[in-house]
Structure formats: structure tokens, C-alpha cells
Amino acid sequence: MTQIVKMKGMNKHFGKLHVLKDIDLTVEQGEVVVIIGASGSGKSTLIRCVNGLEEYESGVLEVDNQKLAPKGGNQHALSEIRKEVGMVFQQFNLFPHLTVRKNIMLAPIKVKKASQVVANATAERLLDRVGIGNQADKYPSQLSGGQQQRVAIARALAMEPRLMLFDEPTSALDPEMIGEVLDVMRELAKEGMTMMVVTHEMGFAREVADRVIYIHEGQIVEEGRPDDVFDNPQNERTQAFLSRVLAH
């Protein structure tokens, strides 16, 4: 099997705070890895390192067979990796000055030099796929949160990524809109997309993940199949965390 992400002994600090400690992690092609942990545990930082939104200081990080050097070195590898890795943010980060259609068309046109016609066709196909084909000419502010996040997923998919990163994609949503976003993600997983997902949605993790990773204070303390991690956690930190989040 092909390894899409390979981390070996990765370390990162924010000033004095050691946010990632000797992270070893690989993600295989087609795998869905869900990363759970308390706020501030380093889980978002971990996936933000994968596409270079955060720099790390030591260790090895390879994404899609490209070495991404520590401390932001190797700009060429970074730009190659970003073309292959899509990202969905907690706050959607849609471009408010562009219509939904243009939001999706921007990167294929600018980065892949796709023609307007091809980019437009891609945008319409993806909007249909995420269930909002009839909203293409609205501006992001005219859509609900759930719709905006689905546009953000479509925008990332337009670059035909080999890997999708999800950074708490439902945390900013009203409860009634979480389901529609998770449905799209579930579909993606079914179609074989490689995914790294940071989330607090334990039900989704249990159902969709091939592997669940629990991070505590910058360290991976538990890793395994969802049933094993949720039903039979080995580490006492994991037990404590799960009993807190699964209690309600």
C-alpha cells in the first residue's frame, strides 16, 4: 500500500509550549484517520503541519512522497504538496467577495491553468455532488453554515486532491446542520478518499474511521480501530477523555 503521509519523530513548539512531541504517524492511501483529543492537545496543529500551514522544528514529514523540510524549508515541495492536499477549516474560510461558483473555480484556474469552461463544469458537478447545485451564483454570506461548509469541501475537491484534511469541520455549525456536512464526508470516505479528520463527533469517528488516534498534550497516546479505542481504551488518559465526551 502507498503511504500518503509519513511522520517520524516530529516535534513542534509554540514558544515554550511543546505542542507536538515525537509524533510517529503514517496514513495509507484510502484510509480515514480520525484524530481526537481535548482542546489544545495539538490535534489541529498536527494536521496543519501536513500542508505546511504550520512549520515543525525537527523530525521527518513526507507527504505524497515529497519531503517537507522542517522550519518551512523547501518551498517547491510545499507548493507541490498543497496542490495534492485539500483542507477544510472550522470557519469555512470561503472567499466572501466571490460567488460560490467562483470560489470553486479560482484554484483550478490559477493553479492548474484550467480553462473557464472546464473549471465551471467542475464547479457545477461538485456543487451537485454536495447537494447545493442550485446555489452556484450566490455569495457565501447568503448561505447557511452547513451549506457554506459544503461549498468549502467542494472547493477543496476541485483540485482533485489525493488527501483531504478536515480541521474540526462541524465545530462552528448549528447542531441541525452538522448532519449534512458529515453526510458529505461519509460519502467521500466511501468513495475511497484518503482523509485526516480532527473532530469532536465521536459517532462519526466510530462509524467512518479506519483508525482513531487520541492525542494528549502533543503526544499520540492511543491508536487503533475505532471499536477498540472507544470500547476498550488501554491508556488511562484516553479512558478519562472518552468518559468525559461520551457521558452525555
Binding site: 485539500g86 466572501p96 467577495h97 479560482l106 484554484a107 493553479v111 454570506s141 483540485m159
Partner: protein, 223 residues
Amino acid sequence: MEFQFQFDWQAAINAIPFLAKGIPYTLMISFGGLAIGFVLGIVFGLLSINKSWFLRWPAIAYIEIFRGTPILVQVLFIFYGLPDLIGGPIDPLTAGIAAIALNSGAYISEVVRGGVQSIDKGQTEAGLSLGLSRTQTFWSIIWPQAFRRMIPPLGNQGIVSIKDTSLFSVIGVGELVRQGQVYIANTFTAFEVYFVVALMYLAITLTLSLLLRLLERRGVASV
């Protein structure tokens, strides 16, 4: 002694043609200067937030110097001082345009900096994560949003600069105030003439305000 003042409408009306000759100069200095100032503002505003300290400090020095000294001193320096350096006279119109350009450029730099810094960093992250370069991210995502936010303060600066040109009567450029002074020297109708001069400034600045409001409304409507 009885003293009665009466506004002399005829004197005011008579002054209009002579005063109006100053309008093209006022407009040329304001808008010529502002156009260059806008370019300076973009360049130095962006340099002032550059990561490289080496590019940043000259930009900040420029901004602080031209914001921190009076525009009257600046134009006097350019008109009377610089010729000593370059060994030849500078015509008043050029000096006026240069003063507005350099002065408004410093303020517009700050407007540009504020506009760009007000855009959420998630926008940059989204652009980069899609594979856009930093330059592409800036010009297709950050700048259009920042520019929209810059319109009201830019309009404000435009109005300030138009009014600043009135100071340039001191270097003898035939703008509105200068024309007024010359006219009064012959007619002694200061009240009427300055009243008309003030109205002419107001006509120019109100027109600009109106245009900016229209521009702003269009910009907002499409977000």
C-alpha cells in the same frame, strides 16, 4: 459710528469667473497628487508590512516623516529648499503635486496597511491550502477584500488633500485661494470672495463624497 455690513451679491457673482480659473489648478494638484499618492500608498503600505525588516524600515521611515511634519513645511521645503539641492527652480504646480503625492502617500500607506491587516488570516490559509502562491493569494483573495474596506478612508484622505491644496497659495500656484487673494487685492471684497471660494471647495468635495458613496454601495452590494 454706525457700522452696517451688507453682503454684496453682485461682487460675489462678479468674482466667479476670475476665481473659477483656480479650479483647474486645484483639481490638477489634488487629483494628480492623489493619483501618485495612491501608488505610493500601495507600494509603501505593503512594504510596511513586509516580513523583511530591510524592506519594512524605509517604508515606515517615509510614512512617519510625511505624517509627522506639516504639509505646509513640506511644500515650502520642496519649492524653496529643493532647488538649492538640484541646482534649478521647481515650478509651483510640480511642487504642489509632489507635496500632495508624498503627503497623501504616507496616509494612504496606513490605509492600505490597515485594510490588508483587517482581512482574517483564514483567507490566506484557504488560498495557500488550495495551492495558490503567496502572490496569487494576495492579489486574488486578500487585496479585493481589503480594497473594499479601504474605500471610505481613501475618500476621507481625498477630501483632506483637496483642502490641503489651499495652503499652496504660499508658493504662488494659481489655485482657488491664490485667485481669491489676487482678486481681493483689487476689489477689497474679502467676505464675498472667500465665501465663494469656500462654496467652490464644497462643490468639489461634495461631488467626491457622492461618487464614493455610490462606489461603496456597489462594492457592498456584491459581497
